[in-house]
Amino acid sequence: MKAKIYVTLKRGVLDPQGKAIRASLSHLGIDGVEDVRVGKFMEITLKEIGAEEARRRLDEACRRLLANTVIEEYRIEIGGQG
């Protein structure tokens, strides 16, 4: 089974990369972009352990390694098209 994990900086934590990208988009003439937040996307392949168990394990993985909850938040998506 597949899972997707999105890790992003918390609101309120300055994202210098996001700011620089927003400025670059503006230089390209792509207007109307109010904010850009840069994060990480991870695609995880798991054994068939059931959605609930997968979520439990990945939540632990996020808390202990994949995200630093001092500065980041995370979202887990289980299943969907691999």
Binding site: L14, D15, P16, N68, V70
Partner: protein
């Protein structure tokens, strides 16, 4: 009196730290591979700078899981002096031995330069005899040295005397211009509540001799030796 210099895959300031301790300060030092799970026989621990595990995921995120970090935790809990320099500081943050986290420099540039630091407390083993307000000239070299903690944590650090160094100008004024990376409240180094674990982005091991442009870094290691001498006396 023996100091452990930890070595992880990607450490690159380990030899500088070893040189400063062994050949400049003149105390016994030994490299300790990160797979080791004991620090028995050591009196102090240096976690040197570098790019452990290629900074994968986050700086220090992989290294915090190395077996030696369990030993560092026990060593720190026992009151032993631990200094994490640059990537070593990042590892201590990731391991939760110090509060807060690092994000990329606000300039989005790698900064490699001499900076000035204003000492904030002499209660750590590495700043014993370096009174508050002392100005030190020590170089930084990092891309992710922008110290972040929430407001509550920052205030608590200040109230409990855990801010050990702040970036300042050559006269000791803590200004926005003298902050090389955007760190909250110009923080360059902090210690734990007990004071025995210090993390700092600047590199004292790179400026322990006058030939390096400054010998101010040596003062931290001299302080450590004096502190250890007092403790065993």
């Amino acid at each position: 009196m023996k100091t452990a210099v930890l070595v992880f895959p990607g450490s690159n300031c380990d030899h500088d730290a070893y040189h400063a301790l062994k050949h400049v300060v003149g105390i016994d030092a030994e490299f300790v591979w990160h797979k080791r799970s004991s620090l028995e026989g050591f009196d102090a621990v240096v976690i040197p700078g570098g790019f452990t595990y290629g900074d994968y995921l986050r700086t220090g995120a992989m290294a915090k899981l190395s077996p030696v970090m369990g030993a560092v935790r026990r060593f720190a809990e026992g009151g032993g002096p631990v200094i994490g320099i640059c990537n070593g500081f990042q590892i201590l943050l990731e391991a939760g031995l110090l509060p807060g986290a690092m994000i990329v420099n606000d300039s989005l540039r790698f900064v490699c330069d001499y900076v000035h630091l204003r000492a904030g407390t002499d209660r750590t083993p590495f700043t014993r005899g370096i009174p508050e307000g002392t100005i030190l000239k020590i170089p930084v070299a990092h891309y992710q040295g922008n110290y972040y903690a929430d407001e509550e944590t920052l205030s608590s650090l200040e109230e409990r005397g855990q801010v050990v160094f702040r970036y300042c100008d050559p006269h000791g004024n803590v200004t926005r211009e003298s902050n090389p990376n955007g760190s909250a409240r110009n923080i360059a180094g902090i210690c734990n509540e007990a004071g025995n674990v210090l993390g700092m982005m600047p590199h004292p091991e790179r400026c322990a001799e006058e030939a390096m442009g400054s010998a101010d870094g040596r003062r931290l290691f001299d302080a450590m030796v004096a502190w250890l001498g007092e403790r065993t006396a």
